[in-house]
């Protein structure tokens, strides 16, 4: 698991995001295509690709892609 790969997976999950447009410091909730379906999709992506079950609340408290990545890492280890 790496931040770079997580960013790629995140970009692929959220519709209308082009590859290479995000960085770890991106506030994903401010992205133009971010909506309720994006929340569901990112939760499902993390479940399938990383084996971690996030809740919508987790995406509210993590404001950047890197913060979310770190949360996924923490949950994956527990």
């Amino acid at each position: 698991m790496s931040l770079g790969k997580f960013i790629e997976d995140f970009e692929e999950a959220v519709e209308d995001l082009e590859a290479g447009t995000l960085s770890g410091s991106t506030d994903f909730r401010q992205l133009e295509p971010w909506d309720s379906l994006s929340v569901l999709t990112v939760i499902a992506m993390v479940d399938v690709d990383y084996g971690v079950r996030l809740k919508a609340e987790d995406l509210k408290v993590s404001d950047t892609v890197e913060a979310l990545y770190q949360l996924v890492q923490t949950k994956a280890k527990s």
């Binding site: 499902a44 399938v48 809740k55 919508a56």
Partner: protein, 244 residues
């Protein structure tokens, strides 16, 4: 419907009794005089029921052949069956897991058909029995992320219509209720993966507001009762006006 007597003398099996909607159905049917047989996977939860009319609890995993076999063997003759067991994996189809899709279709749609087959073969249903399936408004609407759940409930409703015709000569009735979002475990599960904003927006689509499990249970008791004797193959929306 006169409170307390409409299900008197009727033995009703509730599958998925330990869920929130299932539990509400149990309590309501008990209050209407039914003799209750409850099943779920968790014996401890089944043992915790304190309801009028409770006759028997049977712990069984109805998703398995063995579980269904032991359940059928342990059942008395029935006048009513309520299928309230179900699961709802929510995910956009790009990330829908094979196992989740198959488990959802199996428990929500295949198992009720298999159980109906086995109940009929074992002659466990009395003439005039009423079968009630808990469907969902998802069966008749389109919502992103709900493909597995909606497909399973649409299949359940379709099967119920066919069974209604097939069993009419025995004066047996088969109907569905289609609840909207209620304050239940499943709604809480939706809340886990759906954003608060999305839920707030969704709630606005209910003219009568979000429902309670008791709202669903009342409709189920009605369908189990003789008051619904000329109803079969129907799906009653219990959705606070969502589908209007």
């Amino acid at each position: 419907m006169i409170d307390g007597i409409v299900l008197k003398g009727r033995t009703v099996l509730v599958l998925g009794a330990t869920g929130n909607i299932g539990g509400a159905i149990v309590r309501h049917a008990g209050s209407q005089g039914a003799t209750l047989v409850l099943t779920g996977r968790d014996q401890a939860k089944l043992d915790s029921f304190r309801v009028d009319g409770l006759s028997k609890t049977i712990a069984a995993d109805i998703a398995t052949d063995t579980g269904r076999g032991s359940l059928i063997e342990a059942l008395p003759l029935l006048d009513g069956v309520v299928f309230a067991a179900g699961i709802a994996p929510l995910a956009p189809v790009r990330y829908l897991k094979d196992a989740d899709l198959q488990a959802c279709l199996h428990l929500n749609a295949v198992v009720p058909i298999l159980l109906m087959r086995d109940l009929l073969k074992a002659k466990k249903l009395n003439k005039g029995a009423s079968i009630v399936c808990v469907s969902s408004i998802a069966a008749g609407t389109g919502t992103a992320g709900y493909s597995a759940y909606a497909a399973s409930k649409a299949a359940l409703e379709a099967a119920a219509r066919c069974l209604a015709v097939e069993l009419a000569p025995k004066q047996m009735r088969v109907n569905c209720v289609a609840p909207g979002m209620v304050e239940s475990d499943m709604a809480d599960g939706f809340a886990g993966v759906a954003s608060e904003d999305a839920l707030t927006e969704h709630a606005k689509a209910y003219p009568l507001g979000i429902g309670k499990t008791d709202d669903v249970a009342g409709a189920v008791s009605f369908l189990l009762s003789n008051d619904a004797r000329w109803m079969t193959g129907a799906t009653i929306p219990v959705d606070g006006g969502f589908s209007l």
